[in-house]
């Protein structure tokens, strides 16, 4: 079966420093891929490349069989939940208005919007301003926005960072429901290793380079692999932050 996502040789440089270095992986239909990596590992950049927000990368990204650079229409099949950002309390749009933004320029009924709101259990907040909701609820409203346009792929960038643990658990239950009941393919980045182990069937570990991509149990069930990942991540950060200085020192010593 054709993969939903096929990333081949993806590299991205920011100020001549590699943010992503030769990353390749695939995601099949119905997969739940958890992407883990420390801060600054390039997870958000990876998503921005995949979603066409960033375009000046090397390599190829195919979504639903089309190159994202050539065919922006495939974005209609994708729901995106960014890292939580604080919405001001006075932002005037209600939950219903925000969810209805998922269907701009497409035919959709009010019933579909209401169903999406009910699915994420925000029925009683329909007429509330989005800024009056808790951060966890705001993220669920954005998921409802993705649902209402019948997204086949959901990309979530650390959606629960900074959210209280009870809300996180509700959010994880919702993701499981979306994957299992609706068959939506999910790509999700998180620092919560326990949640990734519990929820995802596939795992990708990145820190600018791809360290591992495969079945969840092959990573979390292998202590040696996990240990070497931690070492890999630490080494990658040492190289990034101190590499240039070390090189400079080496050069001066050689002189």
């Amino acid at each position: 079966m054709q993969p939903i996502i096929k990333v081949t040789g993806l590299s991205y440089y920011y100020d001549s420093l590699p943010t992503l270095d030769n990353i390749s992986f695939t995601v099949g239909k119905g997969d739940f891929l958890g992407i883990i990596g420390p801060n600054g590992a390039g997870k958000t950049t990876l998503f921005q490349c995949m979603l066409g927000i960033v375009g000046d990368y090397k390599g190829e990204i195919n979504l639903f069989g089309s190159d994202i650079k050539q065919n922006k229409k495939i974005l209609q099949k994708i729901g995106y939940v960014p890292q939580k950002k604080s919405v001001e309390q006075t932002f005037p749009a209600t939950v219903e208005e925000i969810v209805s933004l998922g269907v701009i320029g497409m035919k959709n009924s009010r019933d579909d919007i209401n169903m999406a709101i009910d699915f994420v259990e925000l029925g009683s907040y329909r007429d509330k301003r989005i800024g009056e909701l808790s951060e966890g609820q705001q993220q669920r409203a954005i998921i409802a926005k993705a649902l209402v346009k019948q997204s086949e792929l959901l990309i979530l960038d650390e959606p629960t960072t900074g959210i209280d643990s009870a809300s996180q658990e509700r959010f994880y239950d919702l993701l499981t429901k979306l994957n299992k009941d609706k068959g939506i393919t999910i790509v999700w980045s998180s620092h919560d290793m326990n949640a990734v182990e519990r929820l995802a069937n596939k795992v990708a570990c990145i820190d600018r380079k791809l360290f591992f991509h495969g079945q969840s149990e092959d990573f979390f069930g292998n202590e040696e692999r996990m240990k070497s990942y931690v070492e890999f991540a630490m080494q990658a950060h040492m190289n990034l932050h101190f590499g240039n200085k070390t090189n400079g020192k080496d050069k001066s010593e050689t002189k």
């Binding site: 921005q48 979603l51 066409g52 927000i53 922006k72 229409k73 974005l75 209609q76 994708i78 995106y80 960014p82 950002k85 919405v87 006075t90 932002f91 005037p92 749009a93 209600t94 208005e97 925000i98 209805s100 933004l101 998922g102 701009i104 007429d127 509330k128 301003r129 989005i130 954005i142 926005k145």
Partner: protein, 277 residues
């Protein structure tokens, strides 16, 4: 009382143009406020000053040069903000000061113009001509339908630009079109309150409505209602009390804003007392 003053042609034109301007300023202003471009009106009005000076200097119809310069400057600054990621308020400061600088230099080179500076700075709605009124109504006929069609897209862009991009929207194109619409709205409105008070029409009704409204549509309607009431009340009151209309309009809006804050605070405290008991 209102019917008496409606007998005068200048007053009919003043009220009609003021109502039209107040509605488009409220609609465009809500998006500007949410984009944190509250002082965009101020900056553009200063650029218009440069544009008018350019028109007078070159002998081209000054209103035309003011429109062209304002639109080009607004689009340019929007591009500057997008390409350099400098904060919106800083890009507006660049726009404001450069417009004023161009105007001052052109005036000094030419040895000064016989420009109605007071009217330009503070507006004079009572001097609106038939041509001005037609221009204002054409601006309304352009701005309102386009904003209506773009409304959902603009809401998504002010909510989260990245999400708007992922939804397949051409964010750059929509932002540019919106900036052009905002520019012609502000240019049409200078006649009412002048360069120095233009931001009041953009900002005050909207921040008042944001305190009251739930939902985008309701907020826009409340903002329009506040704005229309303020301009009509301001013009009528200034006529009878013999005050400057622009100042009276702005003070009416400010009073409504302050009353709204007081009432909201009182309601909040009352609720707190009831809950505690």
């Amino acid at each position: 009382m209102l019917f008496d003053i409606l007998q005068y042609g200048f007053m009919q034109r003043a009220l009609l143009s003021a109502v039209a301007i107040s509605i488009i300023c409220s609609i465009v202003g809500l998006f500007l406020v949410l984009k944190r471009h509250s002082l965009f009106g101020d900056a553009l009005a200063h650029v218009a000053f440069g544009g008018i000076a350019l028109g007078l200097f070159t002998g081209i119809y000054p209103i035309l040069t003011a429109y062209v310069v304002a639109i080009l400057a607004a689009v340019g600054v929007n591009k500057l903000r997008e390409s350099t990621k400098i904060p919106p308020d800083s890009s507006i400061a660049v726009l404001l000061t450069s417009g004023l600088a161009i105007g001052v230099i052109l005036i000094s080179i030419s040895g000064g113009f016989t420009l109605d500076l007071f009217g330009f700075l503070f507006g004079n709605i009572l001097l609106v001509s038939n041509e001005d009124l037609i221009m204002i109504l054409i601006t309304v006929a352009i701005v309102v339908p386009i904003i209506y069609v773009l409304c959902k897209r603009l809401i998504l862009i002010v909510f989260d630009e990245n999400q708007a991009k992922v939804s397949g929207l051409n964010v750059t194109w929509i932002n540019t079109l919106f900036i052009v619409l905002a520019s012609i709205t502000i240019m049409a409105s200078i006649r009412l309150v002048g360069v120095l008070l233009i931001s009041s029409l953009i900002v005050i009704p909207n921040i008042t409505a944001l305190l009251l409204g739930k939902g985008f549509k309701k907020t826009i309607l409340i903002s329009c209602a506040i704005s229309v009431f303020s301009v009509v009340f301001g013009i009528v009151a200034s006529y009878y009390v013999n005050l400057v209309p622009s100042g009276t309009i702005v003070l009416t809006m400010v009073s409504m804003f302050i009353v709204t804050i007081i009432v909201k605070n009182m309601r909040f405290r009352l609720k707190k007392i009831v809950v505690t008991k």
